[in-house]
């Protein structure tokens, strides 16, 4: 297998912490004349208060609506008018904002991010307008589509008991509609302190030059108190929790099985063994559940297993979710699918995977990670979220080797941990189609 280094040797990286507490990660890569700037803020939808579901995401939208030096729409115009692309996204434990730009626009990217982290323009008009936009986003991605929010919105309330872990991160329309400008101001002051964020700069730049630019644009943002980060820990379920939903648009029934993952902060090896287990179960033609359920007895049309509620591993702190989802014909009882999954998982727990089967899964995973990191945006976001969530951007570089080091015994132990008496089952049935 190839071991050629990627174009950004990690030893060239630099870390700085500004006086206001902002953590900065500089990751140069001179191979292409492109740069990326990302701000990861340590607040996600798990932190939003009761009665304000969806607020973290709504606030993310507001951060694009202008700041002291930038009129409404100026952010988009300046990024795109510099030849760049931008986006932001809200996750369980963090919110990110980023641009990818031609290298000549590095300072402009830093200016844009600094201006909104220092003084966003939060106005009543923008709040009302973005509530409408977010509601449209929810209609598009959840309400008006088959399997909308399945399983990421629908499964957590079955598996978890606390508001933080169980509620809908997209938000209820009533909560969104009653959000106020004061909520937004309080949210910004509480969570968007420079000491509560990580700035990641990647691509074609000289590190000393970039460090000077970072300090010029971010240095005078005043320090503010950093909120104490609560634990979202809660006990694992003490039985099999079952709930059903009707999906008016779905043509076929589906089910989701949810399990708790090991805490990646204290048991990274156990967490990664679950990630590899997911691949052994459903990635590729030879995968265990694909063989058994799709090609063997034809119980399901699609089956997918993964570590992480949003589908990517290590994207949240503890607690996070291992999910298995399946779409099946309506002639099949969901319990048949569950029993077949349990039987296959039991076999893996008893005998473990074949070493060659495991090698193929980890080789494919290495290939997938290389490809993902070939895209500067993905490499930047992986570095930034690893630095923010887990305190170590290097985790992102080490992942292929860490995945390759997962042993058959660790996978067997992960399979053993998928216990039928500590999980959530969500059964989705098609309703009258709208």
């Amino acid at each position: 297998m190839s071991t050629a280094p990627t174009s950004a040797p990690p030893e060239q990286r630099q870390r700085l912490t500004l006086d206001n507490g902002l953590r900065v990660l500089l990751a140069p890569d001179r191979t292409n004349p492109v740069v990326g700037v990302a701000v990861h803020v340590d607040v996600g939808f798990r932190s939003e208060p009761e009665g304000r579901t969806g607020f973290a995401h709504l606030f993310e939208h507001l951060m694009f609506q202008g700041s002291e030096s930038l009129e409404k729409l100026a952010h988009f115009r300046h990024v795109q008018g510099s030849g760049g692309v931008f986006n932001g996204s809200t996750h369980q434990d963090y919110t990110d904002y980023f641009e990818i730009l031609p290298a000549g626009a590095l300072e402009r990217g830093l200016f844009l991010e600094a201006d909104r982290l220092r003084a966003p323009k939060l106005t009543e008009d923008n709040l009302r307008n973005q509530i409408d936009v977010v509601k449209e986003e929810i209609r598009l991605n959840v309400l008006n589509r088959p399997y909308g929010g399945f399983p990421w919105i629908l499964l957590p309330p079955v598996l978890y008991s606390t508001f933080a872990n169980a509620h809908n991160g997209y938000g209820d329309f009533t909560d969104l509609e009653t959000s106020t400008l004061d909520d937004a101001a309080a949210f910004f002051d509480a969570y968007y302190a420079p000491g509560n964020a990580v700035l990641t700069v990647v691509g074609d730049f000289d590190p000393d030059d970039a460090a000077g630019l970072v300090s010029r644009h971010f240095g005078d943002i005043p320090a503010r108190p950093v909120p104490a980060r609560p634990s979202f820990g809660e006990p694992a379920p003490d039985g099999e929790r079952l709930e059903s939903v009707v999906d008016a648009h779905a043509p076929l029934p589906a089910l989701a099985m949810g399990y708790r993952l090991p805490d990646p902060g204290t048991d990274l090896a156990g967490y990664l063994a679950h990630a590899v287990l997911g691949s052994l179960l459903t990635d590729g033609e030879a995968a265990r559940l694909t063989q058994r359920l799709v090609y063997g007895d034809g119980l399901v049309t699609d089956v997918s297993a993964s570590a992480g509620l949003m589908g990517a591993p290590l994207d949240a702190r503890d607690p996070d979710t291992f999910t298995i989802t399946a779409v099946h014909p309506d002639t099949v009882d969901p319990r048949q699918v569950v029993d077949a999954v349990d039987a296959e998982v039991l076999v893996l727990g008893e005998r473990g995977p074949d070493p060659e089967e495991l090698r193929r899964v980890t080789a494919r995973w290495a290939g997938a990670l290389h490809r993902e990191h070939d895209r500067l945006m993905n490499r930047m976001l992986a570095l930034g979220s690893a630095e923010l969530l887990h305190g170590r951007a290097e985790l992102s570089d080490e992942l292929p080797a860490a995945i390759a080091a997962v042993t058959p015994e660790a996978v067997a132990a992960a399979a053993d941990a998928l216990r039928p008496d500590a999980r959530a089952l969500l059964v989705l049935t098609p309703g009258a189609s709208a």
Partner: protein, 477 residues
């Protein structure tokens, strides 16, 4: 890894006490600083991209191979594109056979089972997938760089020896039928079907997704016949991009694919009917909470001298976020999460496609604003600032999109499919830089005039028909 180190960093640099609610800042206070607004920093000179090492050749079998060296990560990307239409595509069952072929071509060969095809690729960190549309059969694959021989061997094996085992075909037919059923319920798919029928009638280009009944009737013999007739090298292109030496990669492809020498020319899509402006069509979707608006008009392909100006005019109108259409529909009115205007290419020409999804109650207002912005583009065309912004975006996003092995491979394969060389994409920034404001005005007036458009609105007729009728220019069945 430790969460504690994060906490230490934070507490070391931050003041200790939080303000009481009474001292909290208002939204207005948050939005200003003593220093006041600051000036946007200028752009610095942009470094140029050196031309990559590249080989572009046609093999003895008629297969064109383009290999580009692009190290960065130790991977190689492969894209194979086989024109997959022709006279046979006039048959209504062509799309169904083609769809089953694409989903069973990896079910086994004379040398490998379905599982061993996948296992061999997994062993070199690779994957491959086939897909088909009315224009072409395409394969997209990748592997760790030193797995290129295995990747090529698997591709050759599939192209020359796919066996379409009966039991695998039977199962895939069923899965495909279920998937088509799932997809057919998606509003975006319903809208796409309706638009294709409305603008191109019964042309093969409209058959993007076959009927379930046609899929159920496909036999192994149908697949073998189609494979022999249509899976041919002459007229097809293979693109290899990654951590490779171009000449050596072409030689490896030549050796691995020598046996793929099926005679005949790959089938080109028949020319599309010309697009003319006409009434929109309302397609009823009872109970829908959201409506799909799809407008379309004739455009020109990349080889046309007017193309660069049209590309920039379209960007300024609705081709990116900072466009008039998005700023109006989303940022000003809040009607939609997404609105866009894009160019769709076929082997002969191109079409403009303007689309948005909006809440049912604002269907007619959203259509009104779309037409307004089209009209404004034609008669109050983009100004110099709008042009410069669109130009920087076009040049920059092209640079960024080709910055990955996968992005470059897909771009080159797509361009090859419409007869363009890699040089075209390297020279395109210069063409964009040369476009004048007058050329953009001419292109906007010629191509964006609302009278040139046709299209569909998919919506709940019970709640939207009355207001749409009031607007006019739409047929309400």
């Amino acid at each position: 890894m430790s969460a504690e180190s994060t906490v230490e960093l934070r507490s070391a640099a931050s003041p200790p006490t939080a303000p009481s609610p009474a001292e909290r800042r208002s939204a207005a206070e948050i939005g200003r600083t003593p220093a006041g607004p600051r000036d946007l920093p200028p752009l610095r000179p942009q470094p140029q991209v050196p031309a990559p090492e590249e080989t572009d050749t046609v093999l003895r079998t008629g297969l064109r191979v383009i290999a580009v060296r692009r190290p960065g990560v130790p991977m190689v990307e492969a894209r194979l594109r086989i024109p997959f239409s022709g006279e046979d595509a006039e048959r209504p069952t062509h799309a169904a056979v083609a769809e089953v072929l694409a989903s069973t071509v990896l079910s086994g060969t004379t040398r490998r089972s379905r599982v061993s095809l996948d296992d061999d690729l997994a062993g070199v960190g690779g994957e491959i997938g086939f897909s088909v549309d009315p224009e072409r059969l395409a394969a997209a694959g990748h592997a760790l760089a030193d797995g290129l021989p295995t990747l090529l061997d698997v591709i050759a094996d599939v192209l020359t020896g796919a066996t379409y085992p009966d039991e695998e075909v039977a199962r895939e037919r069923e899965r495909l039928a279920e998937r088509i059923q799932v997809a057919s319920a998606q509003p975006s798919v319903i809208a796409r079907r309706a638009l294709q029928r409305h603008r191109y009638g019964d042309h093969p280009v409209t058959r993007e997704m076959p009927d379930v009944a046609d899929v159920a009737a496909v036999t192994r013999d149908d697949l073998l016949v189609m494979h022999r007739r249509h899976v041919v090298p002459r007229g097809s292109v293979l693109v290899l991009v990654g951590d490779l030496e171009p000449d050596a990669a072409v030689a490896a492809a030549d050796a691995a694919l020598a046996a793929w020498d099926t005679p005949g020319d790959a089938g080109l899509l028949p020319p599309l009917p010309e697009l003319h402006g006409s009434e929109l069509l309302l397609v009823d979707r009872p109970g829908a909470v959201q409506s799909q608006l799809r407008l379309s008009a004739a455009a020109v392909p990349r080889t046309d001298p007017r193309y660069p100006a049209l590309q920039l005019a379209n960007l300024a109108f609705g081709g990116y976020f900072s466009s008039r259409l998005v700023e109006n529909l989303r940022e000003d009115k809040g009607y939609t999460y997404h609105a866009s205007s894009s160019l769709e290419f076929d082997p002969y020409g191109a079409a403009l496609l303007v689309e948005t999804d909006c809440a049912s109650e604002v269907t007619a207002p959203a259509l009104l604003e779309m037409r307004y912005e089209l009209g404004r583009a034609a008669v109050v065309p983009p100004d110099a600032a709008e042009l410069e912004s669109a130009r920087r975006y076009a040049v920059g996003s092209l640079l960024i999109s080709m910055n990955t092995q996968a992005g470059l491979a897909s771009t080159l394969a797509g361009l090859a499919g419409v007869g363009l060389d890699p040089e075209w994409v390297r020279e395109h920034p210069q063409r964009l830089e040369a476009v004048t404001l007058e050329q953009v005005h001419a292109a906007a007036a010629e191509f964006l005039a609302p009278s040139r458009f046709t299209g569909v609105v998919v919506a709940d007729a019970a709640t939207t028909a009355e207001s749409l009728r009031a607007l006019g220019g739409i047929r309400i069945p």
